[in-house]
Symmetry: C2
Subunit: 343 residues, 2 copies
């Protein structure tokens, strides 16, 4: 871990912790010279969420907590809450976290779409699937648009790597860690990362089914959690907006936007765009975990390669469709229904 | 002029001058402590373009030169040419030019859409028109989207104030000055500013017509210049892209995008989005010059208030339509035809 990396991780933990102390471990001390971070110890029975999902454990508060974390950190570090002056100061600082952004660009937006020595997949089963993804022009057109947003759009201080291994959980606690990829980027990158990784978990479940547990109920719980997370996120985000509509957020000045009809129009448009970004980035995060360099334990722990490939193929096909067709979906229930029908 | 302002003006002149020396006056020396800029003297007969347009003078090379300036400066300071590392360094530096960005936010994206002591218009003739603009919810929805792009999207190092008083001309020279508003923003903000100000000039011409010169031919020349500027810009921009498609630009890596079909798809999408941004920002720049704080000499020099109001109303109605309906236009000739038919 480089020194820069430690600095930005601590800086983001502190900023996000300020806005959402319930779901971000407290940083007690950071020493830049020593790259030393003193922070809360997440005591047992906290475990990595991904491991819990592989084990088939339900977390009844997960959607509530993660929607709270995402709504608060994304809203409060955006121009919906900040003045442009504060915002540009933050953007300039986190421009320094360049190496981590470059890594994301490469592994999420580039490698899966070209021949790369870093790529791997469950071969030979997925050879044709990986090639098809690399040769899908429509897919590459869409991933280019998302890459531009990732590189150019400083919408909020995003976590930047919000998959299910960046979250530690118990039955009543949810803590987000590992924010070393944080920078000012598009909000949908965080929401998409989390939902995309839940979808990966969903598609991996058949590989973990056995005679004692067919995982059917658990798969339903995952889909329900995806749906609730987005819907609660949307609701909490809009509530924060309404609560602060007379505040110092620069994006929608009260003197212009505080009439009920217009505010609703503006919020609906904002949330629709954010939803489509979420689906796009979520799909991109799924694809890269199946045909890119870094895979996820959800699939990797399925020892039967043929069975694993079947799960991965379903996830890959779903993600390719989602990336290309995301603008057709009006709400998360449509996406979930589609998965239910086809799975 | 603050010291910061002088610094960013000189920095942008140097950067843009590096990419397009033919149309940016050379900076010989800048001293930050003294805020002293030594730069090329633009000798007579160079005059401010806006004054030439009011006088009805044709500049046969204007479209050629301005399209060259915009294509080169915007392309070469974007991720189509740069690595992310260079890009983020530039973005961070120009985040410091915050006061100028805040001024633009206020006068372009906010004041015209609310009651503000700064606003003025040709009263009483345009009282109802100004009010209608302030109460047009669809217009305010669209201006919010453009403001977000202005504040969040670091696409290229834009001039930031590219109206017809920021350009000095002779019959064979075109020089862009006054870049103190420069920052990393959306490309369409520059192209739109220039075309929007040409449209303002067009709509002002009836106010300058007299028995000796009905300005009809001149109006046609302006429309032709608008059309040529966009079409040449598009052509030059895509040529630069093709020329550098194997370079270090981070946005579209050769290993992914260098197949002829895909590259054309990607370029067509990029230029369509940029065209719509251009129309939107251009319209916003027009509106603010009619009902906002700072007006333009094109209209102000029409002494008959009633005649001036007629010209301004036409421009305002056109701009409001353009801002709301910009996505319906496929090319600049459609926009120009519409103006020709309705004027």
């Amino acid at each position: 871990m480089t020194k820069e990396r430690a600095y930005f991780e601590a800086a983001a933990l502190k900023e996000h912790g300020h806005w959402c102390p319930d779901h971000v471990p407290e940083v007690y001390h950071f020493d830049r010279t020593m790259s030393l971070t003193g922070m809360r110890y997440l005591e047992p029975p906290h475990i990595i969420l991904r491991k819990g999902l592989i084990a088939g454990i339900e977390y009844p508060l997960l959607a509530e907590h993660m929607s709270e974390y995402m709504a608060r950190t994304l809203f409060c570090t955006s121009l919906l809450y900040h003045s442009t002056t504060e915002h540009k100061r933050g953007v300039a600082e986190f421009c320094g976290n360049i190496e981590m952004c470059r890594l994301t660009e490469q592994v999420v937006f580039s490698d899966p779409y070209k021949v790369s020595q870093h790529n791997r997949w469950t071969s030979p089963y997925l050879d044709a699937d990986a090639e098809a993804a690399r040769e899908d022009n429509d897919l590459k057109l869409e991933i280019a648009e998302l890459k531009s947003k990732f590189c150019e759009r400083a919408q909020a201080l995003v976590h930047g790597d919000l998959h299910t291994s960046s979250v530690m959980v118990t039955q009543d606690s949810t803590q987000v860690i590992d924010s070393e990829f944080a920078f000012y980027g598009p909000m949908g990158f965080d929401v998409g990362a989390f939902l995309g990784n839940l979808f990966l978990s969903f598609f991996s479940q058949d590989g973990h089914a056995n005679q004692g547990n067919d995982r059917k109920a658990y798969k339903e719980w995952i889909l329900q959690t995806i749906e609730e997370t987005w819907n609660l996120f949307r609701q909490k985000f809009v509530s924060l907006w309404n609560e602060h509509k007379n505040g110092s957020g620069e994006a929608y000045l009260p003197a212009i936007y505080n009439n009920d009809v217009l505010l609703e129009l503006v919020q609906r448009k904002f949330m629709k765009d954010l939803f489509h970004d979420t689906l796009g980035f979520g799909a991109a995060k799924m694809i890269r975990r199946i045909v890119g360099v870094a895979h996820v334990e959800d699939f990797e722990s399925i020892t039967d390669a043929s069975k694993r490939a079947d799960c991965e193929r379903q996830a890959l096909n779903f993600a390719r469709m989602l990336l290309k067709e995301r603008r057709k979906f009006e709400g998360i229930s449509e996406v979930v229904s589609l998965v239910q029908k086809s799975n």
